[in-house]
Amino acid sequence: MTAALPVLILMTSLVPAIVTFFLPQESHLLRNALNLGSAVLKLALIVAMLVAVAGGAIYEAALPLAPGLVLLLRVDEIALLFVSLSATLWLLTTIYAIAYFGDKAELSRFFGFFSLCVAATTGLALSGSLISFFLFFEMLTLSTWPLVAHKQNRASLDAARSYLLFALPGSAALLWAIIWLESTTGPVLFTDPPDLGGIDPWSQRAIFALFIIGVGVKAALVPLHGWLPAAMAAPAPVSALLHAVAVVKAGAFGVIRVVYDVFGAGTVVDLGVGVPLAALASLTILWGSIRALQQDEIKKRLAFSTVSQVSYIVLGAALAGPYAMIGGLVHLVHQGLMKITLFFCAGIYDERAGIKRIDGLNGLGARMPWTSTCFSLGAMGMVGLPPLAGFVSKFYLGLGGIEAGAPWVLAVLAASTLLNAAYFLPLLYRLWFLPPAEDASGDERAPALVAPAVVTAAGSLGVGILAASAISPLGWANLIVLRGYAP
Amino acid sequence: MTGLTVFALTGAALVGLGFYGLLAARHLLRRVVAFNLIGSGLFLFFGAAGARGVGPDPVPQALIITGIVVALSATALAVGLVVVHARAAGHAVLPEEPEEPEEPKDEGAT
């Protein structure tokens, strides 16, 4: 069972993906049942595993490909954190997507690639070796492309091209880094950082930089972030997937793996590459916020907000200290919950009221109270108002900055909070305090669309309020750091 | 200088001459002729090499006969191609640059 469970978890999204491709467009019921059923099954399996891993169990499954090429699935605490996040959000996004698309065209293709994306994310979360991570990372790249291009209009195709234009060179950089590293050290497993003694420090720095470029594209680090705002051309469930469940998260997760499991936090500090990375992350945080401020479209503003927020995770990893690490890890979850709430809501505004731009939000709070409440919770969380989720992350990141001897982090956090407030609060003001437009319409009689948003909004409230409990993401992050991620 | 050397060097010269013809000639039939010159020069060289030492070696002779038949087969197909190509194109010369198949008037090629 210890070998089978991770494989089984992977299969719960891989098998439905393949089956879905061959389902005729008309068989809605079968397709929906398949996707929802496997999402629930997956979540159940993960919960079972969570309990076991909390008790100290280790799950491992290996498939040797060629010499040096081993597909290794290994479940550790950090893998579980990511995989449980993505599985939970996958279930919610599936419900949302089924309601969102109704009976539009090409749904078998959509849900096929959607499941494939989640399979890839699961795989890279559970990867126990560098090359497995790369394998699933690339699978994610490829299966995302048809989703971004799903509408098949010019804007979507351009967005999809721009995505590959960033992602593929990123992959090349990542592969280059892996091969450069492994040609000296042999296959790198995440159980303990490899011995880098055979590589001179400057080469090590170059490899680190290549790694960061490789995963940084997906994490949308400035200046590799250009594809993410462009990808807003995709339908709302895809945005949720990109921003919260899979893609940028995979990038951020990759940064954590590179810092803590490939190089080791100590080496990162010794090489002096942590501070530049933290600086880059800070730049991304500020730049993303400033750009978000300039957007008039809701989804564009949210996209730049993601650019900014994901770099909190990178910042946490780069500072390479226990508190910062906790902050980064916990933000992986918090940002996911909050951002998916916002995208769900943006999709509902678009779908039910035809509103894409910020000035259309005026007075919508009264007309669409559930959606607007969820949106407000998500936004306030992003700003970092206690006791919402974002506050917890920022608090730990701040502590981490001080601990790592980088008090300037506090300034970055403060500036970012101000900017966050500046680009989110006007939206809330419009929602609740401005009179609606004359010809305003729209309702929220779509429970399957609204319910996922309510759940995630409640979640982002809950993880903040209950942060002190052991089963909260913060508790789990603490456990991870205690179990061996403390440098 | 022995007789064998004379034949071997003749063979070498024929190969060179044929190679020159194959590269320099524009008329396709001339190229086919040049190809045959190279072949027979090569065989002459081979035959001379095989006749060294004690008595002639039958193995090169057999190989050469095989080679001659193979060369004839290639020549027959090549000649047929020259004829149909020339008939279609109006001249027995290949263009300098390969053209795009099926839609030769197109601009997309190289």
Partner: protein, 489 residues
């Protein structure tokens, strides 16, 4: 009687039957021969896997008098590759090469030529005799040229003519080397040659043979004949020509440099070969980007993909053969051969289906076909994944093994070429993908059956599975390798 003889005799007999029988019966005989040869190939694979190298001493006459054949892991893997591609092509050709589609002439010629091509490939893959390889190569070249000419149009004839000239020149250069080898060593057997003392003329012999084979393999800068020829042939023929034919002459280069005369290979020569390969990767990719027709893109991609193969020489050849990374690099190149064959056949067959559906393979005419022919688009996409070298495809395994070995050998620049080649492949394959995926469809396509669409999908899927299950083929190809390393890098 053994499996090796069967994979040689069955396609030959099938071809002869296809010539002798009336048209309908001829096609049936050809299909039967195809099925039997595929079965014999599986038999051979099992035999090699269980009992090691399968050899035949033809007529019972030992070399140097007679000719020896041997199916080592490498040869058997190549035979399996041709069986996979031939099987798929035969299924596709039942419709694509039917008399009411291509006319009585092409419908008659395709089957015997396909089977003769198959026999020639298998003969080359197992022959241990340099002159026998020459005869096999000639059979291969003539059948291949004829398959190009089957297209019938003026441009196809010009392409066939150009192909013929390169093939002729290549044959003669190769033959010149063979003559020198026999004149100096009195044997043509690869194993016996390796055991003889080096002669001063060996360098020249090796150079001549290699030059001739490079021309036949369409290695840059001898590649000019390939794109028009492969694009001008009917799609099933293109699949064979691009996927399989260049691999035969490449295999001979490999046998010469790694088995017959490994100690005569100077490092400079090895680097020159790899330099040509690098040139092919870059130039072929750039040319592919500039093409407006799907088949031309796919054909130029062959030029580029063949270039990777030559990068193996400085990494694993010469003195490198004894190094721990040699097995990885060498096997990586073989993975490239196999996965390229499957992917390229899938791509050409897909192109053929599009051609059948809309009557054109101009990119502009293919808009929106992913919607009407999703299986074909998916097959093309999977094949593209392999050619780009993205995981988990066979192309990725190939690149990973070769790049790791290149780094280990201190020749990181070849790894750079491979990485760059992958990106360029993504660039030239993106255009057709995006066009297929576009929404608006300009031409109402004729219907294409699902069965016909399944063939390229299966081939492309196989090229992916080759990467997912790469351990067994890796082990298999080490069977009978002169200095097989137990552990790769």
């Amino acid at each position: 009687m053994n499996a090796l003889v069967a994979v040689l005799a069955l396609p030959l007999l099938g071809a002869l039957a296809a010539v002798a029988l009336p048209p309908r019966a001829g096609v049936r005989a050809a299909l039967l021969a195809t099925a039997l040869t595929v079965a014999a190939t599986i038999w051979l694979l099992l035999a090699v896997a269980r009992r090691g190298v399968q050899g035949v001493i033809l007529g019972g006459w030992e070399p140097p008098l007679g000719i020896g054949l041997a199916a080592d892991g490498l040869g058997a893997a190549f035979i399996a590759m041709s069986a996979a591609v031939m099987g798929g092509v035969a299924l596709a050709a039942r419709q694509m090469m039917a008399p009411d589609v291509v006319g009585a002439r092409a419908a008659f010629g395709f089957w015997p030529l396909m089977l003769l091509l198959w026999a020639a490939l298998n003969a080359v893959f197992v022959s241990r005799d340099l002159f026998n390889l020459y005869v096999g190569l000639e059979l291969l070249s003539l059948a291949a040229v004829a398959l190009v000419a089957i297209g019938g149009k003026e441009a196809a004839l010009a392409a066939a003519m150009r192909y013929m000239i390169f093939a002729l020149a290549g044959s003669l250069l190769y033959l010149a080397g063979v003559v020198l080898a026999y004149a100096a060593h009195g044997t043509l057997d690869i194993g016996l040659l390796a055991a003889r003392d080096a002669a001063p003329s060996d360098g020249l012999a090796l150079a001549l043979m290699t030059a001739g084979l490079l021309a036949k393999t369409a290695i840059f800068p001898f590649h000019v004949w390939l794109p028009p020829a492969h694009a001008g042939a009917p799609a099933p023929a293109s699949a064979l020509l691009s996927g399989l034919v260049p691999k035969a002459s490449f295999l001979i280069i490999l046998r010469l440099w790694f088995e017959a005369m490994p100690d005569r290979a100077g490092f400079a020569a090895l680097m020159l070969l790899a330099g040509l390969g690098a040139g092919a990767v870059i130039w072929g990719s750039l040319q592919a980007m500039a093409q407006a027709r799907l088949k031309m893109i796919v054909a130029y991609s062959t030029v580029a993909q063949l270039g990777y193969l030559l990068l193996v020489f400085p990494i694993a050849g010469g003195d490198g053969a004894a190094q721990p990374w040699a097995a990885g690099a060498w096997t990586g190149a073989m993975f490239q051969v196999l996965s390229h064959a499957l992917a390229k056949a899938a791509m050409f067959l897909s192109a053929g289906l599009y051609l059948a559906a809309v009557g054109s393979d101009r990119l502009g005419d293919l808009r929106g076909l992913a919607r009407t022919m999703p299986m074909t688009a998916f097959a093309f996409a999977l094949a593209a994944v392999t050619l780009m070298g993205l995981p988990p495809s066979g192309g990725f395994t190939a690149k990973y093994l070769m790049m790791t070995a290149a780094f280990a050998a201190g020749q990181w620049y070849w790894a750079l070429v491979m990485a760059l080649g992958g990106l360029l492949a993504a660039a030239y394959l993106y255009r057709p993908m995006a066009v297929l995926f576009a929404r608006e469809s300009l031409i109402a396509p004729r219907p294409v059956t699902r069965a016909a669409q399944a063939v390229p999908l299966v081939l492309a899927g196989a090229s992916i599975l080759l990467g997912v299950f790469s351990a067994p083929p890796f082990e298999f190809m080490q069977i009978g390798r002169p200095d097989a390393a137990e552990e790769g890098l």
